[in-house]
Amino acid sequence: MLAEWFRELYRLTGINLTIFTDSFDQALFLRGLGTTVSLSVICLSLSLLIGVLGAWWQASRIPLVRALVKGFVVVFRTTPPLVQIYFFYFGLGAILPRVPNAFGVMQPMVGNTQWAILSLALFAGAFNIEIFRSGIEAVPRSTIEAAESLGFSRSLIFFDVVLPLAFRVCLPALNNNLVNLVKTTTLAYAIAVPETLYAAQQIWTDASNVPEMMTVLLITYVALVGVLVAAVRRIEAKLAIPGGMR
């Protein structure tokens, strides 16, 4: 029924949306969309974890830990994510141990999707560390002193007092970075991770419907990011402290 309508649309206007008329292309696109969503969710969670841990270690009493976190942030904030992905896949991938696959070929232990997840999570994580730091620095000194005077340990203060407050402060900035992360997942295309852009490119190679698929891509990402922004807004509203923090 839907396929008929799009076939008719193609006949009348020349707009060729094979993702609605061709089952192979449709499956390809939906699989791509699924990959983008799972890639986004996994990278998002990992990058938040990296952000929290990094921000915690950044305030560590051990100078070496502080230096390591700082070095990590500098490296990942100053290099383009595409270069990072290529470096991980073609650079690091070449020196990793290999295991034989079903065809007897020695295959690197880490595949393209894993590399994409790792590099995107580290990239977004580096920014998250800085974002969380800004939130932590906004927590009033007096609040921490109050917790200390109540006998809270350092880690208890960080996770139970500072972080919940800091999280509220940095949510808008965090929102920005996570939106960016979802858009950056398209770079996984470069190492053949079959996400949405990769699927779209396969489709237009065959159907030569580049303008149509570009439009579909644009709408798809507007929708994906829209869902994420709405979700973060809800969290923001739910976490809001009546009367503000101070």
């Binding site: 896949y89 070929v105 295959q107 393209n112 470069a190 190679t205």
Partner: protein, 268 residues
Amino acid sequence: MKKFLMPALAMAVALTAGSVAAKADVLDKVKEKGVLVVGVKTDYKPFGFRSPDGSIIGIEPELAADVAKRLKVKLELVPVISSNRMEFLKQGKIDLMIATMSDKPERREQVQFIEPLYYSDAVNILMSKKVKVTAWKQLKDAPICGSTGTFYNKPVESEYGAKIVAFDGTEKPLAALKQGNCVGFLYDQSLVQAKLTEPEWSADYAMPLPSIMETPWAMAVAKGEDRFAKFMSDVTKDWMKSGAIVALEKKYGIAPTAYSQRMHAQFK
């Protein structure tokens, strides 16, 4: 009616003949100058490439040399690339083009193709020697590197169940193949064979599968050069009869294609 038709026909024939004769015939021009100018590739090993001393060598320059020999004139090779080869022919910068040009309908409109088509590329896989396959069907679920934007990725995936892992260009998929991220590289057979002439690849890789999806290559002359086209057509048939193309493939270290073997058998 007959009485009227015959003279009309005769006149038509005379007119056509006249119009051909009126145009400068490239075959006469070549013989007059004593030089045949042929456009060939210089970046497509082993079909046309530069030898270490800078001269252009390869299968296509050798074919060009044979044409010049038959015409008893000297040969001049002009390097062409895909985007200028038809323009050079149209402008008369070259008399003949032997430059790995695939047969496409829109190209047939612009230049005069020489029939029968002298060569044919196909699609094949540069495969790790560890992979023991003899048929495309055995590639089910095999990770195969590919190049984005090629027309054969989808059919190989949908017909044989291979998992195509496509990168931009040819260097990245070849690097991925070398690192073991895939078991083979799906590409134009001519490139696969060219890679196999390099020791870097021939040690661990081979081309175990029969070629698929033949795409013939055409030599061409300018539109309207019917006499030269006829001459080249006869030369081509003679090459196929004598097996000259198969011999050149062997000389340059590539396995004779199914097409050149078939044509050799057909004209023998």
